[in-house]
Symmetry: C2
Subunit: 190 residues, 2 copies
């Protein structure tokens, strides 16, 4: 997606050869026009694929999922990382190690919101080592539902998560695939 790649080159910054900061338009401040273009592009790529629900994970995935859901006309469900007083009932859970925060956490989805007949499109902002995505796929499988595919805004292809998920037989569509951040320079896959 050229608009996104151009934006990453213009406003993204690289730290330490592996961290890409896109907080000015994707995961702290959110550029809504770009987000709408991203939502439309996911819809175009998954045209013809039945989708009954969009699943993402708090926090950065939520905006992307909500804007994309306008095109798919399906509900969004976001996996939670902490249980509050207002959460109860039976939960699907999965363990996810976080790459950026150096901790391991449980993600949770209420069993009421993924049903066996669902075809779930999983959306997230980043795909690096694939841990969050693996956890979300595990939850969909626990619900006996089907993964319609995964839509990722930025895939750091050099960190291997995309290969891992595709090798599981899951379709992954990434709007910008980064081959390398070596020398703090962004190089995209073709």
């Amino acid at each position: 997606m050229q608009l996104l790649k151009d934006r990453i080159l213009k406003d993204g910054t690289v730290r330490g050869g592996s961290i890409l900061k896109v907080d000015s338009f994707l995961n702290h401040q959110i550029d809504i026009e770009l987000m709408e273009a991203i939502g439309a592009e996911f819809h175009r790529r998954f045209a013809g694929t039945p989708v009954t629900r969009i699943l993402t994970i708090e926090a950065s995935g939520i905006g992307i999922a909500c804007i994309a859901a306008r095109y798919f006309r399906v509900p969004v469900v976001f996996a939670k990382k902490t249980v509050g007083k207002n959460m109860d009932g039976e939960l699907y859970t999965a363990k996810v190690p976080s790459y950026t925060k150096k901790v391991c956490y449980d993600i949770m989805v209420s069993k009421r919101f993924i049903l066996p007949e669902d075809r779930v499109l999983i959306l997230d902002d980043f795909l690096a080592q694939g841990n969050a995505l693996k956890g979300l796929i595990e939850i969909v499988h626990c619900a006996d539902a089907e993964v319609a595919g995964c839509g990722i805004v930025i895939e750091k292809a050099f960190q291997g998560g995309g290969k891992l998920i595709r090798d599981m037989g899951v379709r992954v569509e990434s709007l910008a695939r980064i081959k390398s951040l070596a020398g703090d320079v962004v190089t995209f896959e073709d």
Copy 2:
């Protein structure tokens, strides 16, 4: 907002006379059509009020803010509750006690994303004791920016946060104001 009130009566559940669960349409699963109606209603209520940025807090506020931002055509900024490796630079912070999770946490916004010339509309899903909103207002004031107003989906008026914020001279627009959850029955303000 009648559509919202009807939905709360239909799908909300009350626990212990003070907790309102709306996780089937607002803060775990998200009904996008309802969210669009909510975004349009905030836009209608703040018509004529200049807004340059929407500020919210992770996680539940993000979907609401992103959908509303489509109507206002301004960027969304969401305050974070934890600092990741991909977050650096100077931050505005405020301390917020959480009502539902019984902890106190710091919320953070990068100084790059609220500027003195900004007129900030603060949006969130719930207003109970007003702690999150107070923290967000504090951050806007620290940035020498102006609070254009606060838009809340559900105000639990009996918990006093709305009065507290309005007494600070801040305009608060709540789409559903709940007078009482006593006896696990939802009673709205007129």
